[in-house]
């Protein structure tokens, strides 16, 4: 599956929600089921500070692909993270660099990802792209 295909799958999943409540309930569910990051990875170096909630992001590079794990202390943030992980994890660096993340707007979560909400998600995406650049340079 390409990034684009993964994004489309998420758009499809979200298309059944007509009410914001259902959408957030789903995000909360996703947040609860996000595979927890290794406790040792929740280190100061992996911490992305938002003003409101904390986000941890770790990256492993194996066989030309990057695997991300992440966590947050806020559950809705965690739900959105799980979507981002689904889209980005297990991809080649170049594919990550090229991704435009159109699905976020498509499923109506752009507000949560605007820099003004200071929840750490914008920095998280930056960090994901940064890892991709770093690993592609090291190849």
């Amino acid at each position: 599956m390409t990034i684009k295909e993964a994004e489309n799958q998420i758009i499809e999943e979200f298309s059944i929600f007509t009410d914001w409540l259902d959408k957030y309930e789903y995000l909360i569910e996703l947040g609860k089921s996000l595979p927890i990051i290794k406790e040792s990875s929740k280190s100061e170096t992996n911490l992305i500070k938002g003003c409101q909630s904390k986000v941890w992001l770790a990256a492993d590079y194996k066989d030309g692909k990057i695997y991300f794990t992440a966590d947050s202390d806020a559950i809705i943030t965690k739900g959105i993270i799980s979507l981002l992980i689904r889209v980005f994890s297990g991809r080649a660096p170049q594919e990550i660099i090229d991704a435009d993340l159109g699905f976020i707007k498509e499923i109506g979560l752009q507000d949560n990802l605007s820099p003004t909400r200071s929840n750490g998600l914008v920095s998280m995406i930056k960090q994901i792209k940064f890892y991709a650049l770093a690993f592609s340079a090291n190849k």
Partner: protein
């Protein structure tokens, strides 16, 4: 003049309140951060921007004369509002933060020396910590901190021991904490400080809204507040200072309007209050603040007091009905500002979902990290109400809160 004593009359004057947010009628419970503006303030600001606009104190032409009149008229309104002795004691700044910085710089320059100290409390806003920390670093002085108890109330019994060695040169404390919403015993603190010859600055950012302030009766040396939390425009604030102190303090910023004569050898400074108002001030903001104070005078004082008591009682009752809710700042001197946490639920999650229901809350550290550490949390939720909020809004808030907590559990 017939005074306003009806909640729907009051709401009528605030256009921002009738909007919808996220498809729901707005419930604005973030008044501690900034208040909505009444129509008269909006109209005056518009009128000035679209016509009555000339720089103050500088020109002989009509527009300048009119703005100068509005600006100085606002100063008189503020003087009267807090019962200061003279206009010379009312300095316009850009806000509470700017007023505190002014005093922290100028007062410290004149009076704070190596080895001496500044007294704060554990409950202060960052704006009343950082400027003093910076001043202390510059002058080789230290901060002393009066701790708060488990309810967030000042441990007054420790005050004398912090003052008795004569090192403290000024105390700077909040009238009402923006986190706890409890009226602090400032009268008692001022009295104790004065016994040791220590002048006191009161951070009135929240206090000015929820109590009638009489600086003469309080006898504090400085009292500071922001216009935007008092239904006025943003970017305007006030520093009240006793004349004897303001006279002895050097100017902080230099520029136009704060001078007597200027030569390259030596400049003499203007008299108070202009000595502290370098450059073109926010004269439209000041006029707007004057207008906001005028608006407040049109509301029945007893109504304001009784209405707040009703809101506080209803809110306390509502919050008490929420399982696992911990309220910070419990006191019989409570204003309509409530910070809390519920179990282990993250405040941001709650605030985000409440926003979807049209309710504006504050979440996070609220610019008071030391106080968060005191309570062992990294954030709180805050509902801060104002004269225009209603019992119905509180009920909707409590019901929505319960619904949101269910979603998150």
């Amino acid at each position: 003049m017939e005074l306003i004593k009806d909640i729907s009359d009051i709401r009528h004057h605030f256009p921002a309140l009738s909007q919808s947010v996220n498809g729901k009628p707005l419930v604005y419970f973030d008044n501690g951060a900034t208040a909505q503006k009444p129509d008269c303030v909006i109209e005056l600001v518009n009128k000035m921007n679209s016509g009555i606009n000339g720089n103050i104190h500088r020109a002989v032409h009509e527009l300048s004369a009119r703005t100068t009149e509005l600006y100085e008229g606002a100063r008189e309104s503020v003087r009267n509002f807090i019962n200061a002795d003279s206009r010379e004691e009312i300095v316009f700044t850009s806000g509470t933060t700017a007023s505190i910085n002014l005093v922290a710089n100028s007062f410290s320059q004149a009076f704070l020396k190596k080895g001496e100290a500044v007294l704060l409390t554990e409950g202060e806003h960052h704006s009343n910590i950082v400027p003093w920390q910076m001043a202390c670093e510059r002058h080789g002085a230290k901060l002393r901190v009066l701790p708060v108890d488990e309810n967030g109330c000042w441990k007054m019994e420790l005050l004398d021991s912090l003052l008795s060695d004569g090192k403290v040169k000024i105390a700077s404390v909040a009238h009402i904490s923006n986190v706890l919403g409890v009226v602090n015993p400032i009268e008692e603190l001022i009295e104790a400080c004065h016994r040791f010859g220590v002048p006191v600055m009161i951070d009135g950012a929240q206090g000015i809204i929820h109590s009638s302030v009489d600086v003469k009766k309080l006898d504090c040396e400085f009292y500071v507040f922001s216009g935007h939390k008092l239904y006025g425009p943003t970017g305007i604030g006030v520093l009240y200072g006793k004349k004897v102190f303001l006279q002895k303090m050097p100017p902080w910023m230099g520029g136009g309007d704060m001078v007597g004569t200027v030569t390259f050898k030596k400049t003499t400074y203007a008299d108070l209050p202009l000595k502290f108002e370098a450059g073109t001030p926010n004269f439209i903001g000041a006029a707007g603040l004057g207008e906001a104070i005028g608006f407040l005078a049109k509301i029945d004082k007893n109504f304001i007091k009784e209405h707040e008591e009703i809101l506080v009682a209803r809110m306390l009752e509502g919050l008490a009905s929420v399982d696992k809710l911990k309220l910070y700042g419990v006191s019989d001197r409570k204003i309509s500002l409530f910070s809390f946490n519920v179990g282990n639920v993250h405040p941001t999650d709650v605030a985000m979902l409440m926003d979807k229901m049209g309710i504006a809350l504050r979440s996070g550290m609220m610019c008071a990290e030391p106080l968060m550490s005191h309570f062992g949390v990294s954030g709180m939720l805050r509902a801060s109400l104002s004269v225009y909020n209603t019992v119905e809004e509180i009920d909707y808030f409590v019901n929505s809160l319960k619904r949101v907590l269910k979603m998150l559990s």
